[in-house]
Amino acid sequence: MAQWMEERLVTFLVEEQARSYRLAYSYLHNREEALDAVQTAVCRALEKQDSLQEPDAMRTWFYRILVNTCTDMLRRRKRVSFVPPEMLDAGSYEDPLPADGSLAERVDGLPPEIQTVVKLRFYEEMSLKEISAVTGWPLSTVKTRLYTGLKKLRIALESEEER
């Protein structure tokens, strides 16, 4: 990759750092882990910069790395965290679907794949196509997951048009 591309990538990463952190935090809900996730994603981005063929796709390309880093960390965490049975409320055996709490909290309670689609759509304001590029899922899957998520959040779908 040309030198100017690396510089452009660095500029982009610095400009996007607050957004990146918030997205990571919304997955991990832990300050340290979110910082780790951003640092790791930034590092991976520079290390693998040659895989970015199209500079205009920088944003979707980087979010893909970031989202993958976050979901990896969530998965790893699942393997190593031990929760005593008495700490588990009945609800956790069912679909994670806290009915109360703010919408943002409920979004965070969704399964990771659905969470990703909902967050990129509404927080990062990406089009379904861009989300498909970030996640690598087919457009149809992205649509299904978004609608499933909205259904779970019990939000009317009428006004949600495909961009």
Partner: protein, 279 residues
């Protein structure tokens, strides 16, 4: 979608810790380092393979084929038996630095042994000096908070090579270049001008006669006057006079070329400064 507007606001109000800036910078540095290392590793493997193949070829050639050996030695042959050739060539790499050496030696003539021994001593000194500079730099680097990863980025090099400047039936001029490149570079050049007939090293007086100092000075002053802005003036410690320690070599035309190391008579951007002294 009003619900999401609020959710987005909530998302956007997630406080961003101050350390984020530093963490992103570390990520950037580490990522760059890893990429460069990977690229360098690929390049090094390629070079190493090629070099090994070449060495094998040359050694085999020299051992097996007298004609080939003569041809290899012929490159810098001078006046019959007198030759300047590479007597030692090696590359030694470890985690801290790469040492690359092309050591010249002189054969044939009476003074061959003495000059070769002198060169041997010089090369050994330069390698030791270079290693010391790298070691000192490494110590200072870590003492001031450098990390292993950042250190791995440094491509420290100690090189000693030589170049034949001119050769005739009766004289040979060559220069031994030694350089250490770390964060900044240290460079040194040692010139040899050998008179084969008398069997000793040439001086500027041998070439220019007893007025060599004024001949050189006038010529150099005139050349500086052509473009004075390029050089340091007297107040900045610029050129004053040549003396016995002034280095020179003979060019292909047999004219002496006086050489000043970078920063001695002109800004470093000028590099090594050379003045050809017309006889």
């Amino acid at each position: 979608m009003n619900g999401f507007k609020q959710a987005k606001e909530e998302f956007n109000s997630i406080p961003v810790p101050e350390e984020l800036q530093d963490r992103v910078q570390s990520g950037i540095q580490e990522g760059k380092a890893r990429r460069r290392k990977a690229v360098a590793a690929r390049r090094w493997r390629r070079t190493a393979c090629t070099t090994a193949a070449c060495l094998a070829l040359v050694i085999a050639g020299l051992n097996l084929n007298p004609t080939f050996a003569a041809a290899a030695a012929d490159v810098p042959v001078l006046g019959g038996l007198f030759q300047v050739l590479t007597v030692r060539s090696f590359t030694d790499q470890d985690a801290d630095r790469t040492v690359e050496v092309e050591q010249p030696g002189v054969t044939g003539g009476d003074m061959a042994e003495q000059v070769s021994a002198e060169i041997q001593k010089l090369v050994d000194e330069k390698i030791a000096e270079g290693e010391q500079i790298v070691a000192d730099y490494k110590e200072a680097f870590f003492a001031t908070g450098g990390t292993e990863e950042e250190w791995a980025l440094h491509d420290n090099k100690v090189t000693v090579t030589y170049e034949i400047k001119s050769q005739t039936d009766t004289t040979v001029s060559f220069v031994v270049d030694s350089a250490v490149s770390i964060a900044n570079a240290y460079q040194e050049q040692t010139y040899y001008n050998l008179d084969l007939a008398s069997g000793r090293e040439l001086t500027l007086a041998d070439v220019l006669g007893e007025d060599w100092v004024s001949i050189c000075n006038e010529s150099i002053q005139a050349q500086i006057a052509e473009d004075p802005d390029q050089y340091f003036d007297a107040s900045m410690g610029g050129f004053t006079t040549v003396d016995e320690s002034t280095q020179f070599y003979l060019d292909e035309a047999g004219e002496p070329v006086v050489v000043f190391a970078p920063y001695t008579v002109a800004p470093g951007a000028m590099g090594t400064v050379e003045f050809t002294i017309s006889k």
